[in-house]
């Protein structure tokens, strides 16, 4: 395990110097020198070098033989209504990956006996691209609980040995997959926004880091399965086609969990949740007061949008934390994000800058939010929003 500069290839161009987050690289006598005390082996310089002069060598340990593993498995997250939409998105991407690998696509459902094994949910999953639906069944799987669900998924993976395992980067997926990956001692990449297969047949996972300010491509060469959680609303939903698939039922008894779900409570202030919304109307410091959120709520209702907030209104207690978008709140990716009176700090942008379209309304024409906006309205939200509401009402009647 080491990093080194191939001196014959390095021409001292200094491209690597600013790339290092740890200020560990300097150029001396025309050659890049890496200070190993400060280097964290993050690899940021490796991809920056135009001459491929920086290499990280690592001794590899083959824990599992990759050739024993075949197929793509998607975790079938459920909701009270059936299947989480992210599963349909994973089916389109999963189908694409499976075709490139010339292998099968399967979905894992972890359910209790009340869950019908022959109905439109299963048909819908097959119609959207799955070759096989595995149903792991036990009374312990009535609702999502981390420990029994980990047991179920690990059981399935060890039995059928998929080479790729995908789940939505939802609160459920991001709680469950790390546990599964740790038990299988394999790699897991969080919150991916891109997936592909490279020429070596490896899963190339692209994900944002630093609140979306940098992107990283990640692979898992020597362990299996290759696992990823995938951000909701990034991939296209699979469309239904007439096709056939298998249903395999596995009766499986998990260990007795240490945790119990006592209550599942709906937040009444979240009429539409931020993660599901196609449109989000969001308010910042410019809202000035708690009661002014009613104005934004009215606009949100007219647009069928969810109500969001930047950090200051939450810190001042104007709106509950569940509405906060940004680094210490939620990451959202709606089709349209309407930022009202939000200046656009890096922390806020981290949570919403990957929205398809951004509309900003702000009095300050120098506000950084305008840099990421597709439409920037320089103006007072208290003047613009009421007129907008009036026009929308007039238009809909």
């Amino acid at each position: 395990m080491s990093i080194k500069v191939i001196e014959d290839s390095c021409n001292g161009c200094e491209a690597c110097v600013p790339a290092c987050p740890y200020e560990a690289i300097s150029v001396q006598d025309g050659i890049a020198r890496i200070d190993l005390d400060n280097c964290n082996l993050c690899g940021a310089c490796v991809s920056e070098c135009p001459f491929e002069a920086i290499v990280i060598e690592k001794e590899t340990t083959h824990l599992r033989s990759p050739s024993d593993y075949h197929g793509v498995l998607v975790y079938g997250e459920r909701t009270s209504e059936g299947i989480h939409k992210v599963v349909y998105e994973l089916l389109s991407k999963g189908r694409e990956l499976a075709d490139k690998l010339n292998t099968e696509l399967a979905v894992a459902l972890v359910v209790n006996k009340e869950f019908p094994t022959k109905d439109e949910i299963i048909d819908g999953i097959i119609a959207r691209g799955a070759d096989t639906v595995y149903i792991v069944r036990n009374e312990a799987f009535k609702e999502f609980l981390i420990e029994p669900y980990t047991d179920a998924l690990v059981y399935l993976i060890e039995k059928y040995k998929p080479e790729v395992v995908l789940a939505g980067a939802t609160s459920e997926g991001r709680s469950l997959l790390p546990r599964v990956a740790a038990r299988l001692k394999t790699g897991l990449t969080a919150d991916c926004t891109g997936l592909d297969i490279n020429e070596d047949g490896l899963l190339v996972q692209t994900r944002p880091a630093f609140g979306g300010n940098i992107m990283a491509r990640i692979i898992c060469e020597h362990r299996r399965p290759q696992m990823a959680t995938v951000r909701y609303k990034v991939m296209e939903e699979a469309t239904e086609n007439e096709r056939k698939g298998d249903v395999v039922i596995e009766e499986f008894v998990p260990r007795i969990p240490q945790t119990t779900l006592l209550q599942d409570v709906l937040d009444e202030t979240q009429k539409i949740n931020l993660e599901d919304a196609d449109i989000i109307v969001s308010g910042g410091r410019g809202i000035q007061d708690a009661k002014n959120f009613t104005l934004l709520q009215e606009l949100a209702d007219l647009l069928g949008a969810a109500l969001g907030s930047s950090r200051p209104p939450v810190d001042d207690g104007w709106i509950p934390y569940s509405h906060q978008v940004g680094q210490t709140g939620k990451t959202v990716r709606p089709k349209v994000y309407i930022a009202c009176g939000i200046s656009g700090s890096i922390q806020h942008l981290a949570g919403m800058s990957s929205s398809d379209y951004i509309i900003a309304i702000n009095k300050d024409s120098d506000a950084p939010i305008f840099k990421v906006a597709d439409l920037g309205i320089v103006g007072d939200l208290f003047e613009v929003v009421p007129v907008l509401i009036k026009r929308l009402k007039a238009g809909s009647s």
Binding site: A182, T186, P208, T260, I346, L375
Partner: protein, 260 residues
């Protein structure tokens, strides 16, 4: 009650600027801070200790500079601090990091609760907490927004979900990752700062925690970063100045355009 809090040193994004020409992050000279979400975990641990007594131990893996955040934690009210530092720990992904922290936690031993922030603001993975819990074989509760009841054997907590929240009961020891809603972290007191200055911080390396070398650092990391790049910013940044009516029409026109 013995509580272990895992904290991470991260670059302070408050001070990160975007290079206007290249649209890339300017990271040089950016100061390091305690991961903001970890501060909530630490505050919660201190509050539990203040209520029911016990001990708060903070641990961090990183270079020797990470001592700064451990001292800050002592200033806030932590009793002991351990820095996991060894050249062999470098280049760790979430699995290797979790394994290293797990070995350190086992060495500390006899804990009732482990607290972590929801995620670190540099890597944004939210994986290390659940992975530590799995490797220790203890339950985990993620996105904790409130601890309703807690004693040495069990706890009742509220966990944030996309649609609201869940009330969960768990046996201890367990690991919780917390969200910002849980509390407002205190600033280090003057007395705390004085204590922090002279506090002894243990440094543990590979041999101290009896870790297997092939499971830590780069060699213990199944995942490998093959490329880092700056995302394209396609936004036009166009600004419109006009009357309120014109502005409202502009927005409605824009919404119509993109939905058609």
């Amino acid at each position: 009650m013995r509580i272990i809090v895992c904290i991470k040193q991260v670059p302070d994004t408050q001070d990160i600027k975007i290079d206007p020409e290249t649209n890339t992050l300017i990271r040089e000279g950016v100061p390091s801070i305690m991961n903001p979400l970890d501060a909530y975990a630490l505050e919660e641990a201190i509050r539990i200790k203040e209520k029911g007594g016990g001990e708060v131990i903070v641990i961090s893996m990183g270079p020797s500079q990470a001592e700064d955040i451990l001292r800050e934690a002592i200033g806030m009210g932590a009793d002991n601090a351990v820095l996991l530092t060894d050249v062999k720990f470098k280049g760790a992904d979430t699995l290797a990091t979790s394994y290293t922290l797990k070995k350190a936690i086992e060495k500390i031993g006899d804990y009732n609760l482990i607290l972590c922030g929801k995620q670190a603001i540099d890597g944004d993975t939210a994986q290390v907490g659940p992975e530590i819990a799995e490797l220790l074989g203890i339950p985990q509760v993620t996105y904790v927004r409130k601890i309703e009841e807690i004693d040495e054997k069990r706890a009742v907590i509220e966990r944030m979900t996309e649609w609201g929240y869940q009330v969960i009961e768990t046996f201890l020891p367990a690991l919780f990752t917390v969200v910002k809603e849980i509390n407002v972290p205190r600033l280090p007191s003057l007395r705390g700062k004085i204590k922090a200055k002279s506090a002894e911080i243990s440094h543990w390396g590979l041999d101290d925690i009896e870790a297997e070398q092939e499971r830590v650092g780069l060699s213990g990391s199944p995942t490998k970063v093959i490329k880092i790049f700056t995302p394209e910013r396609k936004k036009t940044g166009k600004k419109f100045v006009g009357t309120r009516e014109e502005a409202a029409d502009k927005i409605i026109g824009f919404l119509k355009d993109i939905s058609s």
